[in-house]
Symmetry: D2
Subunit: 378 residues, 4 copies
């Protein structure tokens, strides 16, 4: 198939966890949309509100990344199609683009037995990214962390977590940075100074794709109607890589901190209740989230709302990753630096939004304002 190629400088998207389900869906999906094989469902930046903002076109994005795993991307895409995550036929239709991205994936780290120190790893990662930008003649690149969730550092760790090594490498390579996971990344205290001095835009943390997305519209409803939430309980069932990672209590703790934040911010305090994350390999890349909200109305009447959300994690995450890469790449071009609270719409635990409206509606307003800002700075 002959496809139009955008002229002018292109934007790199450097994915940490480049062989995972989300990254594979990002690469395959971007190619499918650019080729007009599918409508752009799930992508906010393809709506009219983002026209004339100067965002990179989908066929102007170039993919590469780090991963500690092997296994070629076209094969990963076939596996996802088997599991019903990608449409059948899609991996074959975008084989060229998958192979192109595959050729740009470099080994991540530290691997077990790796004797390199933090500084050495950061330098190596930054060199990989820099070389990618130069070789492909890119205007700039955005580094996006879509790797599996790391366990929470209980303190006392002698070295930086891997997510923070990659984040430091992004800064060193002069790249904007997105943390789509609950891992520490650029939030590690050791990186605060470098982040502030970098003059680069960054955003995170933990993409809001399912249960927390719902909570960010339901919690404001209770608050605005003065319905008092007494307990908010939930269970997430998920298979895939993230299910296994989050089955670990320490990783789940990282995840839950973000999940709780929206309830705390909107309801003015955390209600009773626990949120579980269960690894259920039988579900593959599909996840099911059940929420049970016990609330109280007029004269103390007790009522209940339950929700069940059945979604495909990669399909929910991938369009947001594309949105974020485009938005932050453009912010970089426009000279915007530091945390971007305007992107709270995308995250469970957004950067730089203390005191801001944590409702999805408020965050959407802020996002539209950001589009306006980008439009004005062209």
């Amino acid at each position: 198939m002959q496809r139009r190629r955008t002229d002018g400088p292109r934007t790199g998207v450097w994915l940490i966890g480049a062989r995972g389900s989300v990254a594979t869906t990002v690469v395959a999906g971007c190619a499918a949309l650019a080729a007009g094989l599918w409508p752009a469902a799930g992508m906010v930046t393809e709506t009219g509100a983002f026209a004339d903002c100067g965002l990179a076109p989908l066929d102007g994005l170039v993919f590469g990344g780090h991963d500690t795993a092997a296994g070629p991307l076209p094969k990963r895409a076939e596996e996802l199609a088997e599991g019903g995550v990608l449409p059948h036929g899609l991996p074959a239709a975008v084989h060229r683009e998958l192979a192109e991205a595959d050729a740009e994936i470099r080994p991540g780290g530290p691997q077990p037995g790796d004797t390199r120190g933090d500084e050495e790893l950061i330098a190596a990662f930054a060199a990989d990214i820099g070389e990618f930008v130069r070789r492909r003649g890119l205007a700039r690149a955005v580094v996006v962390n879509v790797a599996s969730t790391e366990p929470v550092d209980e303190g006392g760790a002698v070295r930086l977590p891997a997510s923070s090594l990659y984040a430091a490498a992004a800064l060193r390579a002069g790249c904007a940075y997105v943390n789509f996971t609950p891992s520490a990344g650029l939030r590690h205290p050791a990186l605060a100074e470098a982040a502030a001095a970098s003059g680069l835009p960054y955003t995170g943390r933990d993409g809001k794709t399912g249960q927390t997305l719902l909570r960010s519209v339901l919690a404001p409803m209770f608050a605005q109607r003065e319905l008092r939430v007494r307990a908010w309980s939930g269970t997430n069932l998920l298979g895939g890589g993230d299910g296994a990672a989050l089955g670990e209590p320490a990783a789940a703790a990282a995840k839950n901190a973000g999940k709780n934040r929206v309830l705390e911010d909107v309801l003015g305090g955390l209600p009773e209740g626990t949120t579980h994350i269960d690894d259920v390999p039988a579900l593959g890349d599909w996840k099911t989230a059940w929420d049970h909200v016990a609330f109280e109305g007029f004269l103390g009447t007790r009522m209940v709302l339950q929700t069940t959300w059945q979604g495909c994690d990669s399909a929910l995450a991938a369009p947001l990753v594309l949105d974020l890469a485009r938005l932050l790449g453009r912010a970089h071009e426009a000279g915007l630096a530091g945390p971007r609270p305007e992107l709270g719409f995308y995250f469970k635990d957004p950067d730089g939004t203390d005191g801001a409206d944590a409702s999805l509606a408020g965050q959407y307003e802020a996002l539209l304002g950001f589009a306006e800002l980008l439009r004005e700075t062209r």
Copy 2:
């Protein structure tokens, strides 16, 4: 119990359907809150955002109304406590206020066999309201329709539906008017001219208390995230008087028109799917609403959200009725006339909001703006 009585002119609340569950809960609940027996959960006008707006204090509201049924209010309240709708002990604690309101209820109409014409009934109703205002020395009264839903007029009716007779009486008595039901009320074409000429404020239609409340926060979420809703199906189970009324297809049609409006307004078109309303007397005043939303994300991936809302209709409606009576009474005092689109927050099918933001978040913003307006006009 000796209770503080607000000095200064008081505001009347004239309830159409004054012996129903909602009305009884309104009267009993207002007394309980005024006496400090319960916190004001569920009432938006008791939050800080409405301070200094000049709203009538809860102990400054005086109740009366029309009803075609008999049965003293204190007894109705006891029945509601039996059914778990009112707290046990409350009917006894507010017996005096219930008896006081009971003494102000006048027979509604037309009753079966009633030979009076429309004009005669309107005049009689208006006289009842006017006498109530004079005898109790009220500054003004707000008429609120909380009667059972009427069947949709299929056209060709020779006389006005009862809800419109009461609405016309409200105008004639110089009262602000709230339609909390799906019935025609002031929307009847025959009343358009009188409404416009009245110089009175009015608002409606059909209080947004459960399934539609949820839809008004969920539909914007799908829209903002570009998740494409393929089908939105739902079932409501409810007992009580409204269950029986809405079990009738013609009455259900009236209800559903409102329910669909939020989906149409927010999603830009009505998706596939049906919404059922079932009469299940075993549930009494409790209702359960199940919603099933089939939607599509990135690359056409099919996903599902289900919600189950279990609430008590009267407990959900009563605080909104109090809110509306206070807000519209104050609007009347401030000289505001015509439909009040700022009160869309409270309704499924709001008056005068064509083209306005139909999301709950947008409606809440508009409501806060109305508070600001009322504050400024003091």
Copy 3:
């Protein structure tokens, strides 16, 4: 692929509605199981309890049938694979068997404009079946109705419904008969005499694949624990051909009669509540059934059970059709005649089971007893 072919006489399966989703899944699935491509999940007759009963082996079944629609079976199978009903790759793997069955499908009727009378149609259908048996050298054939649900006959119809024409043809061709749908089939009063005189075994009505299957285990639980069901409400969402057919009130009435029967039989009376069937084309061959059971326990305490069943209609029905064809074919061989109440396990509204245990557990016992009987008659 070279596959073992069972020696000895084979059994025909003549499907009414032979180009529908269920029939296509039956043919493709039988071939896949016979070839060892998939384990026999969902088939009860492949479990140890049915060994040595003399059932026809899966590779000894030969398919044909009637359909009013055109469209080759291999193409129908591809469409089902697109919709996620059949595994990708399966239609290609069993193309030969699909084409073989396709060649045995004859036009059904009456078509619009068909001037043939009932007797003429019955004779034509019986001739089609007889020719199939002779030409393929079959020991016998079982006729199975898997066509779309017919509207309930309101009385006064001058001619037999199509399902009864096919049933009469089955008798005339000397074939055992299974009615897997809610249509009249052999239950039509005009066929009672012929059925009794035929000496053939028959069974039905309306395969129990989802919501009613669940009800047949839940209702006995309430009964055995003396928990009193106050209301049982439900909603079915389904797309596909059956969704459209059952969206018609008259067809839905036929369906619901069967659905209610298990509740009546087990609970000793029909509780409050309605069961809706909605046509939601967006769901394709997938169906979702929500049930809400309001029940009462000790001292009148009110409690609730809700269930949501998300299944694929064809995948649920097809293995039961294969089970029934094998069981009834063997019953025919064994000389059993008349309604087979032992097969109530498979049906919403079983033949000949008045007064029998309507719980799934009791029906399973009866089925095991039937296996024993077949084993003994070898």
Copy 4:
């Protein structure tokens, strides 16, 4: 109120945890039913199948017990009525019976700081029970453990858990014994010999009142239809005393062992998935259990069943406790000794049922057989 008193010897019911919610509901409910104030919903032994079995009449039961907590029973009953667990008005109506039982409650143990050894405690408890039987002139007494769940003994404990001390005391006092909780009770290895030698009937463990009751009818459905369960996940939300106890991981482990047993026994192996028990004090005595079953049918098609059970723990447990006390008292009279597998219907983890049918249907059959046995031994 003057009430009929059964002549002849009466049966004692000695409750361990006699001031808890379940025990209070047992005492109040038994009095209400004996007085004809409520129908006997939830009690299996009041159905026709148990007529003429020689069971003690409800007005022939006399209550007493041990508890480590103080607080008079009539007051506990008032609190339960406040929480909606008992009907309003009931505590007053049965005040005499509550006070009577209250007078028969003795301090449990060991209390914190208690220096008595195991043998001393057993002797003291047995003396309490024996004195109760003598003083009230009872034919016999049944000891029923309805206390909060104990943590699982991780091994290495130097003394018996409290539940086993009470169980040993029951044997010593010559009483039949029911363990309605997941605690060790008579299953402690140190009691095996005494139990075998006692000549007394006993039964347990862990009353099957909600999620496991459901599982015991759903799991057989999957098994009988050859639908392959891939993962069975669940979450229980419960407040009250049991919520707090089961919030402890060690106590939850005891509970879950029983919950898993029915799946293992029926499905022939434990599927993937976790069952959570969350303490949600806001729910009081009400519990909500959500289950998610991922299963596979014909050709590997993946389907899902979800259930939500909303019940009141005490209302579900109390009638079963009354059933068990009557059945085991009668078994004692009839000279039956040892574990009673016929009562598996009532328990998650029944005594003496290895290899027996673990479906509720099979267990109900066994229970009816037990009724027959009791009838024959009169």
